[in-house]
Subunit: 267 residues, 4 copies
């Protein structure tokens, strides 16, 4: 029979450390776990996310207790929103008696869209990362969103007798929040600036519409990153941001890229 009396088992992690080096982040990474999420439509979705959960380890302690990170997550029963997500850092802080806690949650978010002419309904998927960082009384929360769109090249249109190269692009916004923002609003903010947005289903009248809309609305990667930056600067809910646009060029095997960072705080 295996001896399992936990009280008599050595606890190396709790032993003192002589190296006099604080560890900025220690914890679990790439943990796939279920959670419930709610956005603007007030529907609660059951999702699977990839969690990173860290604390700061003081210089006089050798290690942390890794199983506790997963326990806090397992016990967590709240429906997660962009608004309440940062609460999680309080539970971690308390469990670990640590001033600092850091959590990221990475998941795919599906949104219903109607095709522009036929109004056929379908889903489109977006990559989301929610991040919260508690440092003493200071709490920061970010939302990162990747929005796939179409871009059509103004130069190609201008110099060619007909046609213009276009391609799928990814707009990535990382926003430090003053107050909570709906993902759906951030998605629309980004999609509205693209040459055209994407759809799961397009019937022929829709395809005609999106083709002509993109042709009438050409944007360089530089145009798109600026137009979105202007919108983000005007949004009162957003304290600081980074916006990136990456065009998977249809005429090259590499990407065109542009980035605007309006505050050094957003790394």
């Amino acid at each position: 029979m295996i001896d399992v009396d936990i009280k008599t088992m050595p606890d190396l992690q709790s032993s003192p450390d002589q190296r006099k080096l604080l560890i900025n982040k220690v914890g679990v990474k790439d943990l796939r776990y279920p959670f419930r999420f709610m956005d603007k439509d007030y529907c609660v979705a059951e999702l699977i996310g990839k969690f990173n959960i860290f604390v700061e380890l003081p210089e006089n302690q050798r290690g942390t207790h890794m199983s506790r990170f997963v326990e806090v997550l397992h016990e967590q029963q709240e429906v997660i929103t962009v608004k309440n997500f940062a609460n999680f850092t309080h539970y971690i802080s308390k469990k670990f008696d640590s001033d600092c806690a850091y959590i990221t949650l990475d998941f795919a978010y599906l949104r219903r869209k109607l095709a522009p002419i036929s109004l056929t309904e379908s889903f489109l998927d977006y990559k989301i990362i929610l991040t919260a960082h508690k440092e003493g009384q200071n709490l920061q929360r970010w939302v990162t969103i990747a929005v796939p769109v179409t871009t059509l090249c103004p130069c190609s249109k201008k110099i060619s007798q007909f046609g213009a190269h276009n391609q799928r692009s990814i707009i990535t916004i990382k926003a430090l929040l003053h107050e909570a923002i709906w993902l759906d609003d951030l998605i629309e903010l980004a999609e509205n600036q693209a040459s055209c947005d994407l759809y799961g289903i397009l019937k022929r009248p829709d395809e005609k519409y999106v083709t002509e809309k993109a042709y009438n609305n050409p944007k360089f990667v530089e145009d798109l990153v600026r137009d979105i930056a202007l919108e983000l600067k005007n949004n009162q809910k957003i304290k600081a941001f980074t916006v990136e646009v990456e065009n998977f060029e249809s005429i090259h095997n590499h990407s065109a890229y542009a980035m605007i960072q309006n505050d050094r705080e957003v790394g």
Copy 2:
């Protein structure tokens, strides 16, 4: 105003083709879409999967209508199980008036597990691929499952005075089904043969248990692939299979690998 009368729009896809070449598979790939899934516990989970949906295109037809693949999926309301998943090929066949249909669904499946000694509950994640192929009256369905486990090296144990290298390994089973099998049963079949299985949460008494269990149960990649193949051969629900084991060696920066295929039908 944009003209959108679909009846007067040309339909190039339906035009005849002179190249006299049947296309084996044509359709949509890497479509992320929601679905509901049920396994052995009869709980229905709402999940996001990655779908590939294809038909065969006869040699006299130029193209297929891509939007219809997504429409069939969007209209699909059934709770998916390993048992009923292949029904989807009938809906596709009918919608496209095609003898052949092919569908794969790739998703992450979470399963509750209890730690071996403390009985602490947590989730573990598994990659699943369901595949169905209809060719006239012939319907084939496969389930592919990737199960992460521990392997401990018998040679390292034997030749060393103490210790033995061990590592995370992935067991991948692709089974052609006679009749439906619960994912949970396939997972247990695989985990039971490993040096030890994995857990989301392990308290210290559990960690002692899994360490000693793995040390008492060393397996080469060759041992593990054979032990699982024996179990699969004895399972009446499985017609043919491929089983692979990949060890992410802790002493190398490459993998050790072994594969047994018991029937040419499983590619």
Copy 3:
């Protein structure tokens, strides 16, 4: 002092096995290693590839000796070509005294291209997989190549007053060879059928050219897969093939896909 007399160390791998199960493939996977490669220009490039090297293990033997796979590769000094690559299976066969040997080599291949009008030189990169399979006296060799191109949608062009959606696509050819073929020839075969091919550098006159060429040369994913299949069928060096085309649609967040397989031998 650690005892390292290899002659007295147990060799568990060589012990007999009672499970009566042949292992189809066993060996090393995802091993990154240097090699020298030569194609049509007779320039020898030093490259880093990802190797999988396997043998068949008879049912009466418990294990193989993993270090020997890497030793054979390390000792290999030949400049690799599509023609001589399969020789490697002989060295493996001999070292392991095994009838069957299987090797794949996965690498990036760069090719000089001139822009169509300005003739500016740049490189374009292609993913290559060389595969060889020796089974007794029977030796099969495949070359797999992924060629990125532009496709422009004929339907979008036809139904729209101006413009047409286009995107980057990947053509993947897996060819079972009668006799050796230059990679450069396979690349040209594929690029010649696309709406347009890609370049590392395009000056404005080139960009005008590729935009107009693609607009004048619209192809569905179904058109492109068929046009390449016709070329491959007419190539005497190729015994059997699979050709796939995947369009990273600029109007969707999923791919359009088509595949033609002209012989069951090519899996």
Copy 4:
């Protein structure tokens, strides 16, 4: 005949911009290109790397000329070293008449190693990223290196009667350089702190050695990150650094992670 007189073609990128928004980074991303590299052994290797090359775009200019980034790279003939890599930002700066330039180069580096007892030679692969950032007269250069090693868990060893779980781990060092450092020296610095380092080939006496060495040298993820941080702090060539350790736990399906950042400058 297509009209290609570049002098009469419009140059939209050079037109003025009214949005009054500087773009922090604009350029090409994920460009796979050949280059020559030299490290401590003074052997010149021909490699393929993934380049990102960016400039800052002033607020009054609409766009940049993407083809010029690739032209500068294509014309570059120097053998790249950690020491001279940052020169590239000067060529970019000059070509674009821009104060700021930013370049990263991502590649795999192979290093010869001798097995610890048998002295058998093989290669081990490491991921490297070189980064240079010119901002006016200020030039910063970083080297990032990912070193795969073995870690053995001290808790598992202490509480178990025999054995101890161990696994492959990745040490990632990002160092801001005072002066150039050989990659080989950084690799040794990292490998020397691990429970044991990795090899391409290990014969049985070597396997005995690495198994026992790791068992005698257990380290938590926290221990390893601190021990490396101490070495980096003492290295006069390094101005600031971040060091991360990720253990691909053999008893879980997630990672244990720790990070020390000794200066806010290293993001």
